[in-house]
């Protein structure tokens, strides 16, 4: 994909690193045989990097990451270090959710969606996949991601439960909304530099049958230390930046809730306005029936009103289909982020607790610092680093998302008014024409 100029860099199939020739010849020297890569990935992401790279991760994924980042075009050079998430040139994994279908079985009725994947990544056996998944499967994926990457912010899913009597789970509207949210979820995961390499994602995207029992084994191994809530560890001092994050999230969530309420109120008022407007239009029509000279003008007005009604319907639908779901999604996102912050706090608390205990013991009987304490410290620092990186990333995405959302809202309103204006303007042309001469009215 992005390294198309590379000779022999396969876009499919898994080849040993030795066979892959790096476009930058200097880098060739650094390639060592064997799947356990010792090619280093450093913090410097400039193209033409040739030296001083040390490996940090074990997965071959980091190599393709490197290859993907080293780009012959200068376009990557534009991306400053802060903005690595934004460039599409680096993306090598594309996912889409579409094509909802209803499945009826004796046990239950449910909807599945087609999940399509296109990728050049080596972790995937094939460059393209198309599988069908249901909401449960997405839920499973998210759970696995949360468990296996507890230090990262996992994007939210649309709401799981719907009140059976209130919302029709199979209505076109509902399914459409849900599908868009699932698509967004998957795209966010696929864009994430760490989450997108999660093996569960791989399974989700490629496996014919999602055998969810697989997950159990992994579940028991991973993340124990973080999940373990050491009873009674109290947090001493939360670093200021995480406190700020928490406060920000609280306030932001509140504001989003307010905006949601306002938007709903607007929808309600618009709906009532629409009802009255329709009635209003029909009165002009019926009046036209008893007039002669005024018949065409009155019917013209009725037509304009009708056009405006149509425009208003579109506007309202867009609000409820596109605008509100995004707001709600962010509220969910914030909730899950606050959870992660809490986990971080717990992690720090545990470390502090253990450290204190270890220090005391050392003082009492000279027992050296146990390794666990250092591991804890590492975990906390890791957690903090991951969280900070993800936070920046989230802030950036949030800004883009809301910019898009709000300009979209403005655009829809502009479209509505433009439509209405056009209708009324053509009516004036009609009305200003001579009463008895129809044809000449256009030339006015």
């Amino acid at each position: 994909m992005s390294v198309g100029a590379a000779r022999g860099l396969a876009s499919s199939g898994q080849k040993p690193i030795t066979e892959i020739l790096h476009p930058l010849s200097a880098a060739e020297e650094l390639l060592s045989p064997g799947p356990d890569v010792t090619v280093s990935v450093g913090g410097n992401r400039e193209p033409g990097l040739t030296n001083g790279m040390t490996v940090e991760t074990l997965s071959p994924a980091s190599v393709s990451l490197l290859f993907n980042r080293l780009h012959l075009d200068d376009s990557l050079a534009e991306a400053d270090t802060k903005d690595t998430y934004a460039t599409t040139e680096t993306r090598d994994l594309f996912v889409t959710v579409d094509d909802p279908k209803k499945h009826v079985s004796t046990m239950e009725t449910y909807i599945t969606y087609r999940v399509s994947t296109k990728t050049t990544r080596l972790e995937f056996d094939l460059p393209e996949y198309s599988v069908r998944r249901r909401y449960q499967d997405f839920d499973w994926l998210r759970m696995k991601l949360e468990d296996s990457q507890p230090t990262h912010l996992i994007p939210p899913l649309p709401e799981k439960f719907v009140m059976k009597g209130v919302v029709d789970r199979f209505s076109e509207e509902f399914v459409e909304k849900r599908m868009k949210a699932l698509d967004k979820f998957l795209k966010r995961v696929a864009d994430h530099p760490v989450l997108s390499f999660n093996p569960h994602l791989n399974t989700f995207l490629s496996a014919k049958d999602l055998n969810k029992r697989q997950g159990l084994a992994l579940l028991t191994k991973v993340g124990e230390s973080v999940k373990h809530v050491a009873g009674g560890y109290k947090l001493r001092a939360r670093p200021a930046e995480f406190g700020t994050m928490g406060e920000y999230l609280d306030t932001f969530s509140q504001k989003l809730g307010t905006i949601d309420r306002i938007a709903q109120r607007i929808l309600k008022e618009q709906s009532e306005y629409l009802t009255e407007l329709r009635e209003y239009g029909t009165v002009y029509s019926s009046w036209a029936g008893s007039e002669q000279e005024l018949q065409r003008p009155l019917e013209g007005v009725a037509g304009c009103v009708s056009t405006c009604c149509g425009g208003l319907e579109d506007l309202s639908e867009n609000m409820s289909q596109d605008f509100l779901p995004v707001l709600r999604e962010y509220v969910l996102y914030i909730e899950s982020m606050k959870n992660v912050l809490r986990k971080r706090d717990q992690s720090q608390a545990e470390y502090e607790g253990r450290l204190e205990a270890a220090i005391l013991r050392k003082q009492e009987d000279g027992t050296p610092m146990p390794v666990e304490v250092e591991k804890c410290q590492d975990k906390v620092e890791c957690f903090n680093a991951d969280l900070k990186a993800d936070w920046e990333r989230w802030q950036h995405n949030k800004r883009q998302d809301f910019k898009q959302l709000l300009t979209g809202m403005a655009d829809k309103n502009i479209n509505y008014y433009e439509k209405c204006q056009a209708a009324w303007e053509s009516l004036i042309t009609l009305l200003q024409g001579k009463p008895t001469e129809d044809k000449t009215s256009e030339t006015n």
């Binding site: 607007i266 009165v283 008893s290 910019k403 403005a410 433009e418 204006q421 009305l431």
Partner: protein, 432 residues
């Protein structure tokens, strides 16, 4: 609505060839000197007054200043001071009632409504409310202009006195005795039911006036409801202003864009007040024709009445003639009680019969006069009424067409404002 200025001066006849009230120019030319051509008429001010009413109770009412100024042929830039009289609404009503009775074949222009109706919730239904008073002032001016430019009504002396003599006008009106001439409701209603051969055109016109009234009142009600709802939609958007402002406080890069966008949302919410106030003028135009429909129907009902009275008079004459025949020949054609009693109790003496015959002859002579009068009355009414109804129809078509155009213009203006505001907001969002 007649081409009236909302502020000081009314359109003079220089302004429009077709006449300030929209009547066709040829109608004006026939009677080349409708009042409006000779003088400017404005209703310029309104004032509150207190006084004792007929039952000696203290009351507050509003008076309006009617100013008139003769249009000087030379017009050398010198502006003579206008004559002015203060009139209250009830005096306008008196004038109109006089005109209706005196010219029953004319579709008399209506007054603005006595009490505020078809109001949407933000509009006050209070007669003392300054906006209501203002709109009423405009309506009264419009009424005077319409009357003063009518080929027939504008020549009326009472109208002239109304405009020029403040005191003693009421007495003069009462002296005309018009109140005695007015038809009783009961008589008119009875005629409606019992008339046999009314002019078809008048019946169609009456039916049309019913339809017009029904449609216009439906329309006014629906419009008021729409205005209410639209108000709600706009005002809720104002809440965005506040929340964007609060949100911007916790943002860094997004803050400025959000804050400015919020201001635009506030502007959007505020813009509806002016928009709806302008729309009230459209509603007033519709209302005028709603009341005009009533005046149209009145002309038709008058026809029914005159026709009915003619029929009654003819009927009466026929039966009197029959009586004469019976008395003269002694043959009873139709059953009559008197005839029966004669048969049973014997005929009357010849002298009595002679006397009765003479009486009947006199009555027949009277009856023939009456029929003649009624026929003339009826025919005149039909002729003049048809002319004025035709004039009215053309005026109505023209005025309402213009009103619809103005309404469309208002809608376009509202759309443009909307586009402006949202474009501004969009720019702010893009800067986020």
């Amino acid at each position: 609505m007649a081409d009236d200025g909302k502020e000081e001066s009314v359109a003079t006849d220089d302004d429009s060839e077709t006449g300030a009230d929209g009547s066709l120019s040829n109608t004006m030319m026939e009677d080349g000197s409708t009042l409006l051509r000779r003088m400017e008429i404005c209703v310029t001010e309104a004032e509150k007054r207190s006084g004792k009413n007929a039952v000696s109770m203290q009351e507050t009412f509003t008076v309006y200043l009617v100013e008139t100024r003769p249009i000087d042929a030379s017009g050398e830039g010198h502006n003579p001071a206008p004559d002015s009289v203060w009139r209250r609404y009830s005096e306008f009503e008196l004038l109109r009632n006089y005109l209706i009775v005196t010219y029953p074949y004319i579709v008399v222009p209506p007054l603005p409504e006595k009490r505020a109706e078809f109001v949407w919730h933000k509009l006050s239904a209070d007669n003392m409310d300054p906006d209501f008073v203002e709109r009423r002032r405009v309506g009264l001016e419009n009424f005077l202009i319409r009357v003063a430019s009518h080929p027939v009504l504008s020549n009326d002396k009472i109208l002239y006195h109304f405009l020029t003599e403040e005191h003693g006008w009421k007495e003069v009106v009462y002296e005309t005795g018009f109140q005695a001439k007015s038809d009783s409701r009961l008589r008119a209603l009875s005629a409606t039911f019992r008339v046999r051969n009314p002019d078809k055109r008048f019946m169609e016109m009456k039916h049309y006036s019913d339809e017009l009234q029904s449609h216009l009142s439906q329309l006014l009600r629906a419009r008021a409801r729409v205005a209410d709802r639209l108000y709600g939609v706009y005002k809720v958007h104002g809440n965005y202003g506040r929340v964007f402002s609060e949100w911007s406080a916790i943002e860094k890069e997004m803050g400025d864009g959000l804050q400015s966008a919020g201001h635009h949302m506030d502007a959007y919410a505020a813009s509806i007040d002016d928009i709806l106030e302008e729309e009230e003028h459209y509603a007033d135009q519709l209302k005028e024709y709603l009341f005009y429909a009533e005046a149209l129907r009145a002309v038709c009902r008058k026809h029914e009445l005159t026709q009915f009275e003619l029929e009654m008079a003819s009927q009466d004459l026929i039966s009197k003639k029959q009586q004469r025949e019976e008395l003269a020949t002694g043959i009873v054609r139709t059953f009559s009680f008197k005839g029966m009693t004669h048969k049973l109790f014997g005929q009357e003496a010849p002298e009595q019969r002679e006397a009765r015959l003479k009486l009947v002859e006199e009555l027949i002579a009277e009856g023939e006069e009456t029929v003649k009068e009624k026929t003339i009355e009826c025919e005149e009414h039909v002729e003049r009424g048809w002319v004025d109804m035709h004039r009215f129809k053309e005026q109505k078509d023209k005025d309402l067409r213009e009103a619809l155009i103005n309404y469309a213009v208002m809608q376009i203006s509202m759309c443009k404002k909307g586009i402006q505001v949202w474009s501004n907001a969009k720019e702010c969002f893009l800067k986020m």
